[in-house]
Every structure is written in C-alpha cells, then in structure tokens.
Amino acid sequence: MDPALEFLLKTERSLWRGRDQYYEPNNLPTGFAALDKALPGGGWSTGCLTELLPKRKGIGELSLLLPALQALSNNNEWVAMIGPPHIPNAPALANAGIVLERLLIVDTDNDADTLWSTEQLLRSGTFSAVINWVEKSSSKQLRRLQLAAEQSECWAVTYRNARAVDEHSPAALRILLDTAQQYHDETVTTGLQLDLIKVRGGATRQVIIKAHQFDTPQGTEWPVTKAGRSGT
C-alpha cells in the first residue's frame, strides 16, 4: 500500500478500513481453515445472527457447526438447539465430542414458540450458542433475535429454508448451503458448498469444504471408501 495512505490511516482518527470495524478478536474458530479465512474476524462472529440456508437435508449442514459446538461445550459453556426438525442423535453428537450435558434441546410445536424460546435463551445470558430451526420467519422476528444476540454477545444461528434466500434479512451473515461436486480424473469428490451471500464487514464469496475435512470434527472414520462423500 501507498506509504502516504498508511500514514494517514495511522494518524487520522476519522479514517479507518471498513473491514476493521467488525473485527472481533474473540470470534469462534469454525474448525475449517478455508471458512475461517473467508469470515471477518476469522470465525463465527458472536453477538450477531448467522443465517444458514441449506438447499436440502443430509448434505452436512449441521456438521458445519460441530467443531465450534464441541469447543464451546468442552469449555463448560451452554449450547441450545431449539425446534430441531428431527431427533438429534446422541451417538453422533457424542462422537463429535460434544458434552451432552451441556446441550439443551427444546422441542416446540410451532414457529412462534421457537422464536420466543430462542429470544428467551438469548436474553438469559446463560447460553453461548443458540441454534434454531424455523419454517417461516419474518424479517421483523429475525431482527428481534439479532438484537437479543447483540445484547448477550451470544452466537445465534438460525436455519431457514433456502427459498428464503431472496428475502430481506437482518442477519449479519447469510450462507446458502448446497452439495459441491468436483471431478478429478475419473472419481467424483463431493463436498459442501457455502455461498456467503451476505457478510457484514467482509466480502461475499464461495467456500467449498471437502468431504474428508469433516472426518476430524465427526470423530469417526467415514466408512464409505470408493466414491467421495459429503459430510456425515
């Protein structure tokens, strides 16, 4: 960079780089080097809402969060899942090294209850990470969650249907999730493709997490050998 510019940035207090504004040194490492690099602050940012939009089930959409959840729960921090679409399978979570006693599951009957519970947990200040699943949520409801997350410095994640990709959202980070297929010679390796469609304080880009990178957070060998795999 131009030394004159550098000098100005150091001396003038009214000048700063847009990216630095959102730099949080205490962000949660995602456990995936490529993703850490793409996110401002080098990890999942706490104190704001992260929105994940998986295009289909079974592509590794939850495995993406496992390393961070593992780190939190082992640090004696509380983690909550609200309104999961299916039964969270304890053996898989235990394999991933998550302390089950530190993971609170909340079953809800409808979206209103899910959003209410999420807000309560965010505001309680007891939880370090709160993840929820909603069928439909308005921008106003998400804004409430975003505000609650800001207040409690909590890592809030919401899973929404990928159809909501064009809707306006107050979330600080929005990621569209899909399978990625790469062709090497004759074998097909699959992975998880992350389209960062909104990154506050960063640039939108595409990140691909290769299938084998999920092995470590999963804690088990993937028994599939011949073809590739996309996340467990």
């Binding site: 289909r56 089930k57 079974g58 590794g60 959409e61 939850l62 495995s63 780190a71 082992n74 640090n75 004696n76 999961p84 679409p85 299916h86 039964i87 969270p88 399978n89 304890a90 053996p91 898989a92 979570l93 235990a94 394999n95 991933a96 090294g97 302390v99 089950l100 006693e101 530190r102 993971l103 609170l104 599951i105 909340v106 079953d107 809800t108 009957d109 209850d113 519970s117 309560q120 947990l121 309680s124 200040g125 007891t126 399978t179 297929q181 699959t190 470590t216 957070p217 999963q218 804690g219 088990t220 993937w222 028994p223 599939v224 011949k226 073809a227 795999r229 996309s230 996340g231 467990t232």
Partner: protein, 517 residues
C-alpha cells in the same frame, strides 16, 4: 428487645381487592377498586359498616353507619361480611410473610402483627433501612399499614394504633428527592429507649387505651385525660380504683411487667386462598392476588429453609369445576420473584373457562434448597441458578419435558439409545477436554446427526455406499429389531442412514432412518 407492631386498619378490605397497588410506585394509589366497598359486621340485630374504602368514604359513608342507611346513600354498594375465621387466615398469612424479617412473629387478632426486630437489625442494615424495606413490601402488596416500634410489645401496639402513619412520612421523604434520608420515619415511629417512649406515650389520650368502656368512663370522670397523668398515679390506688387490668396495662406499657408474646409457628404445608371481591375475568386480573399469595409463600419458604418443587394454583369458578394449574420446578426454589415469573407465564398461557372467584395456592412437595456458594472465578457456577430458571420459564410456556438434555443408553437399537434428561446445573466439568479428533473416545461407528422419529420407506432411489452394519437386538422385548444399516446417497448428493429388513432378504427395500446432516 425491640418490637415492631404492624397494624393493618383496613385488612379485610385490602385483602380482597385485586387492584394492583404497585403499578405506579411513586404515588400512593388507593389499592382498592373504584367501586364503593364496605365491610359489614353483625352487631345484635343491626348490621353496621365496619370499614369503608376511599370510594365509599367519598360518598359520605362512615364506619358505624347501619347498612340500611348506607344502601340509601349508595344502592350499588359492595359489601363484604366480616368473618372471624377469614380474618384469622389473613393475619396468619401476613405472619408467614413477616417471618422473613424475624424468627419471632406474633399475630394478634384481629389485625396486628408483632415482630421482634432487634435481632434482625444488622442483617437488614440498620433500623431505618429495615423499616423502609418493610414499608415498601407492604405497599407492594397493596396493604395500608401503620407501624409502631417500642421496647415492649404493648407500647408498640398502642403506638401503631394511635395512628402514626409511616406511609405518608415515607412519601414525603421521597417527594423531597431524598431517597436515602430515612431518618424522619425512624425518628417518628421508633421509640427505641424507654425515656423517649414514656414521653411519647404520655401524650396519648387515655381513650385510646385498650380498656373496657367502664374503666375508660371511670378514668374520664376522674379527670384523667392523658397517659402521663395515669403514669403519675401510685400503683396501689390505680389498682384499687380501676382494677387489675388497668394496672397491668400501665405496667406493661412502662416495661415494668413482662409481656409474653407466643412466637408464631409456621405450618408444615402451605395452602392459602384468597376470595376475590370482583371476579377476575382473565389471567391479567389474577396477577395481583397471585403476587400476594406468592409473597406469603416466599416468606414461609425462607423461614422454614425449604424450597418448593411442585405448586398448584387452583382457581374457583362460579358453577363450574375448578381449574387446577400445576407448576413443576426443576429444582426446589424459594425465590418469590422466580415463582411469580413462572406462575404469570403459565397463567398467561392457560385459558380460563370462566371468571375466577377465588384463588388458592398449594405448595405440595417441599424440599431443601441446594444453595450453591458463588464462586467469583467460575462462570459456570453463577450460571447454575439461571439455567434452571431459564428451563423453568420455557417449561411454563411450552409444557414440561420440552426442554431437556440428551444422554446415551446402553442399547444398540437406534430408537432406544437416546434418553432424555432434565438439564442439570451442576455437572462436573469434563475430565479431559478433548480438542483434537484423535483423542475422542469413539465408541460409535458413523451415525447420522438427525434421527427420524419413525423410519420411512425411501421414495427416491438411493444407493448404498458402505458395507452393511447389522443391528440385531431386542428379541427379548416387544421391539425386536433385525436390520442391516447402510450409509446411502441419492442423486443430489445428500446422505442418508437407511436400512433393509433382515426378515425379508429378497425384498431390498430401503427405509430411511436418519440424515447425515
């Protein structure tokens, strides 16, 4: 010893009102409903008004007025029958509440509570602060109260009835924007040493003394107007002329004669109810009586050093079966604010079939409270309390067993391996935090994160990619499972946990049982 006498002049009126007196704290709101209400007592053949609320007083009604005349003034007057048993219950309920200030509380019928406060002074941070606490607590419950403090119970009682109204004093102090300046109240109310007490008692008219009419008449005829004159009389002539009871009273007031007050014993189980003067149509209107009952429960729990694990709120309706709302708590709690929060949340979520005419709370299972010493450096310790409170709050709205943690069972059948457990606050921290993958104690082969409630027949074509994992278990009970599990992939690249039934090996139909999310 130092006695505080709390005198509730309008107890029966205050107790039935369910208008929230603490809604605006800065001014003394009349805690009674705007409807003219009176307490009626049967005296001989006549029914007389015993006390009236402000709305009734504004209409010109006074206590002592016959009910018939009162109806002439105000046809839609709301009347409450004076009931000794009811009064007894009220005063006991207040005694329970007062037990949080001292272990020595004596209820005196019909409407006074004696509290021995000297032993509690340092706990509450001195006399002025303690008095302010008591005033504020009574005001929050919407009760009118007068207080007297003296070294002996009789004098304290007399002072309280003589009408020193600390409430107004307290407000003056607040209006002067001197919230910390609590001196005026304590100076005015509290007679902590016997010289100032005697001086103060001396000014009280004799007619206020709790003596029978005959003695009072005799005193009046002898030209004795104030207590000072009474105190100056020699004891022997006092006894000769006015009888034993008068002499005893004078000696007790002066502290020359012991004045025993039996300490109130809290009952083992807590059940209290309130009759509502106006029907409460919704849960919002029930907030105030609920608050009052729960404060009494809080005082009761604190003194008995117990916590409540299960609480029933029973609403009585007119000609309809009662509504019973049961609150369960994760751990025994004695925190009145927490109880109120949970109960309100639950009441709001419950639909009430008809207006309630009475509310009862019944603390069923009492248990000792586990109090965690707070560790300054350990965050999880201070979290411990709030996690239960958060879970209680969720269960109040969503229903019990909706918030839980998972645990592993020793069973290989996927449906049986999960166990739901109530979230526990104080778990031992993990022994060796495993940070890298290879230190995980891997006891399970690859398992999907999402497990379906019921396996579904796969309607899309899926291709098994792994070798079969046979799960064969449970032949001894009804859920016999004989399946070959595969990790399978479909065309779009999504991964499933699917199985075929071993009972029908020819029919290779896949059932999906989970997603590798």
């Amino acid at each position: 010893m130092l006695w505080a006498a709390l005198y509730f002049p309008e107890l029966s009126l205050d107790m039935i009102s369910h208008n929230d007196g603490c809604s605006n704290k800065n001014q003394v709101t009349d805690p009674l409903p705007a409807v003219a209400t009176c307490v009626v007592i049967q005296q001989g053949a006549q029914r007389l008004l015993m006390s009236c609320n402000r709305a009734a007083r504004n209409l010109g009604l006074r206590s002592g007025l016959p009910l018939k005349s009162a109806y002439a003034v105000c046809p839609d007057l709301l009347t409450i029958e004076y009931d000794v048993d009811q009064q007894q219950q009220y005063i006991e309920q207040l005694s329970l509440w007062a037990l949080q200030y001292s272990s020595w509380v004596t209820p005196v019928m019909p409407n006074t509570i004696m509290i021995e406060i000297e032993a509690s002074l340092s706990l509450f941070g001195g006399l002025p602060r303690m008095l302010t606490t008591i005033f504020n607590d009574t005001r929050q419950q919407g009760l009118q109260m007068q207080m007297g403090i003296a070294p002996n119970p009789s004098a304290a009682r007399l002072l309280s009835q003589f009408g020193i109204t600390p409430n107004s004093e307290n407000n003056n102090a607040e209006n002067d924007n001197a919230g910390n300046d609590e001196r005026p109240i304590s100076d005015k109310v509290a007679m902590t040493d016997s010289t100032s007490l005697l001086k103060h008692l001396g000014e009280i008219p004799v007619s206020c003394l709790p003596l029978d009419d005959f003695t009072l008449k005799g005193l009046r005829q002898s030209g004795i107007r104030h207590c000072e004159q009474l105190f100056d009389l020699p004891a022997s002539s006092l006894a000769r002329r006015f009888g034993q009871s008068c002499t005893e009273l004078v000696f007790k007031l002066q502290g020359k004669l012991p004045d025993p007050c039996p300490a109130f014993q809290a009952p083992e189980r807590f059940t209290h109810s309130l009759d509502l003067a106006l029907e409460a149509p919704d849960s919002q209107a029930l907030q105030f009586p609920l608050n009052r009952l729960l404060s009494a429960l809080g005082g009761f729990l604190r003194t008995s050093d117990l916590g409540v694990k299960k609480l029933n709120i029973i609403l009585k309706h007119h000609r309809l079966p009662r509504t019973v709302i049961t609150l369960g708590f994760l751990e025994a709690t004695a925190d009145h604010k927490h109880l109120l929060k949970i109960a309100s949340e639950r009441l709001l979520a419950t639909s009430i079939p008809a207006p309630a005419i009475a509310i009862t709370i019944d603390a069923e299972s009492l248990a000792t409270v586990t109090r965690n010493g707070k560790d300054l450096f350990n965050k999880s310790q201070s979290q411990a309390v709030s996690i239960q409170q958060t879970v209680d709050l969720l269960s109040a709205r969503l229903g019990t067993d909706k918030a839980y943690t998972l645990a592993l069972q020793q069973d290989h059948r996927p449906e049986k391996v999960l166990e739901r457990k109530a979230a526990k606050s104080n778990i031992p921290s993990p022994k060796t935090p495993s940070r890298s993958g290879d230190t995980h104690s891997t006891s399970w082969p690859a398992r999907p994160i999402w497990l379906l409630q019921e396996p579904v027949l796969a309607d899309q074509s899926i291709t098994p990619r792994s070798s079969a994992e046979r799960i064969e278990n449970g032949w001894w009970d009804t859920d016999d499972v004989r399946r070959d599990y595969y990790i399978a992939e479909d065309d779009t690249g999504a991964w499933y946990w699917a199985f075929t039934l071993r009972q029908s090996p020819d029919n290779r139909q896949f059932y999906i049982h989970g997603y590798f999310a």
